[in-house]
């Protein structure tokens, strides 16, 4: 069977200028000064497959390249080299609540976010009540989003996101916020998605949740794959990596 996600030799580097070149003045005042760059390589030669119906975790320390990898999978960044093949409908977002603005009401934000995620006006109308019910925010529908707590924001954003038809879902750290009740609700939707043989890629620091849901996982360290395989083993490798400071230099 064709893998849902196939990444082959993905590399990405950012050139970080030592001086701010984004001013014309710099160019005018110092026309011949070459800007010096620091090459930051968040990803080097990352190769892995995710099978259809698989729940796949990506873990690693802050700055190890997890989000960059996810952005490349989603098509937000273009890789410098390597190839990503996607089979199936890929959800285009990596974080929840794209396009939310605090000055507008939840009602308006549901429309903006839902439409950005690809829902039609009619679909949104049909699912509007369901979204609010799932988020448990019926009472606050006409309140401006700036008055929402971060937990309420995540509830709303997640409730909209799961209305979008997809085969493959990419999620960057969604489990961190939200109370226990809502997390349970999310976990239930994961179970439903599993039954429907959806593919999900999680990036998370919540190792317990990852070991509960993911079959396989990938550990990034300094932009390279440090370990890949059965989720529990990879999580153990991650813990081992930071349990012993000597290995940090790897």
């Amino acid at each position: 069977m064709r893998p849902a996600i196939q990444a082959v030799g993905v590399c990405k580097s950012f050139l970080i200028p030592h001086e701010q070149p984004s001013r014309l003045k710099e160019r005018v005042v110092h026309p011949f000064r070459r800007t010096t760059y620091e090459r930051n390589e968040p990803l080097t030669d990352v190769t892995f497959d995710v099978q259809p119906g698989e729940f796949f975790g990506i873990i690693g320390a802050n700055g190890s390249g997890k989000s960059t990898l996810l952005k490349i999978l989603a098509g937000i960044y273009r890789a410098d080299a390597g190839e990503v093949r996607i089979a199936g409908r890929l959800s285009p977002f990596i974080e929840l609540g794209v396009g939310f603005s605090g000055e507008l009401s939840a009602r308006e934000n549901i429309e903006i976010n839902g439409m950005l995620l690809g829902l039609t006006r009619r679909q949104l109308k049909e699912r509007f009540d369901h979204i609010l019910e799932f988020a448990g925010l019926q009472r606050f529908v006409d309140q401006k989003l700036k008055n929402y707590s971060s937990g309420m924001l995540v509830r709303l954003a997640y409730a909209i996101a799961i209305q979008v038809p997809f085969d493959i879902l990419l999620l960057d750290e969604v489990l961190a916020v939200g109370d226990a009740e809502f997390q349970e609700k999310c976990f239930e939707t994961f179970e439903t998605m599993r039954e429907e043989r959806k593919t999900i890629v999680f990036v998370s620091h919540d190792l317990d949740a990852l070991s509960r849901f993911c079959e396989r996982a990938l550990l990034l360290h300094g932009g390279r794959i440090h370990a890949i395989g059965e989720a529990q083993e990879v999580i153990d490798a991650y813990r081992a990596l930071y349990a012993n400071p000597v290995e940090l230099r790897l």
Partner: protein, 281 residues
């Protein structure tokens, strides 16, 4: 970097980009609509008078210029208030479109970093927001036209291509500056000066006939001048006191070429830069 040359860069067939053309077009249209409407709402969020402000701005300009210049042009331009208002409202649209679009890619960068998305929709939505304000301002013009009992005739059909030309000019300029602004944040400052320059050199508050001949050869390169003069000629007829800026068809060919060049250039810069917007914005 390992064997970079032997590996092909990833194709961009993601998400809606996988969908058939029609479906994709419908998606862009929906997003365009929701973004421009929410932009419009956000612009006036929390203000008491709301979009009444969008009427106040050109009216205030108009009032000031009318007080200063009405005595000067009373004899040459019999319907000077309407003449002036047309210029002010049309210029306000161009200025408004550019100044809202210019920072749009940067200020909406959060969207581009979180969702795979054709970035052009963002500046496009900003120009459409400006178009909505412009539509509101047209109400003032209609009131003035009715007040002066100017009777529409068949030539008024020419207003449609003229308004389209005005939009294309604003669009090209906005898109070009918005794209450049992602990399060079100076563009905002440059436009502040540039817009003043364009405003004062265009015959908004004075008839083009007072310009010296050498200056006419320069202002003809500003497409706004041609659009404004033609619109006045259509609505005011002989009262517009229109003149030829340069000989023969230069009045039209030069500005149309300028608009085409601006549009082409903006598209060219956009195509080269757009894949990096998510990183730079």
């Amino acid at each position: 970097m390992p064997q970079a040359s032997s590996i092909t860069p990833p194709s961009s067939d993601y998400f809606v980009l996988q969908a058939p053309l029609l479906e994709r077009g419908a998606y862009y249209a929906r997003v365009l609509r929701v973004l421009s409407v929410s932009d419009f709402k956000l612009k006036y969020a929390g203000s008491i008078l709301g979009y009444v402000w969008s009427l106040m701005k050109p009216l205030a300009y108009f009032a000031v210029l009318w007080v200063v210049f009405s005595g000067l042009f009373k004899s040459t331009l019999p319907k000077f208030p309407l003449y002036l208002l047309l210029g002010v409202v049309m210029w306000t649209f161009v200025a408004d479109a550019v100044s809202t679009t210019l920072p749009s890619i940067v200020s909406r960068g959060a969207i581009l970093r979180r969702i795979a998305f054709p970035p052009i929709v963002i500046p496009l939505a900003a120009t459409i927001t400006a178009l909505m304000t412009f539509a509101l301002n047209l109400i003032i013009i209609v009131v003035f036209i009715a007040g002066y009992r100017v009777v529409p005739n068949i030539r008024w059909l020419l207003l449609a291509p003229l308004l389209l030309e005005l939009y294309l000019f604003a669009l090209g300029l906005s898109l070009l500056l918005a794209t450049l602004n992602v990399k060079f944040r100076d563009i905002g400052q440059i436009w502040e000066v540039g817009s003043q320059l364009l405003f004062f050199t265009a015959p908004v508050m004075y008839p083009a006939s007072i310009l010296p001949v050498w200056a006419r050869h320069i202002v003809v390169f500003n497409p706004f001048v041609q659009i404004l003069m033609d619109t006045r000629r259509v609505i005011l007829g002989r009262d517009a006191q229109a003149i030829q800026l340069v000989g023969m068809h230069g009045n039209h060919i030069i500005p149309l070429c300028v608009i085409a060049c601006v549009l082409f250039l903006s598209w060219f810069v956009y195509r080269r830069q757009s894949h990096r917007f998510a990183e730079l914005a």
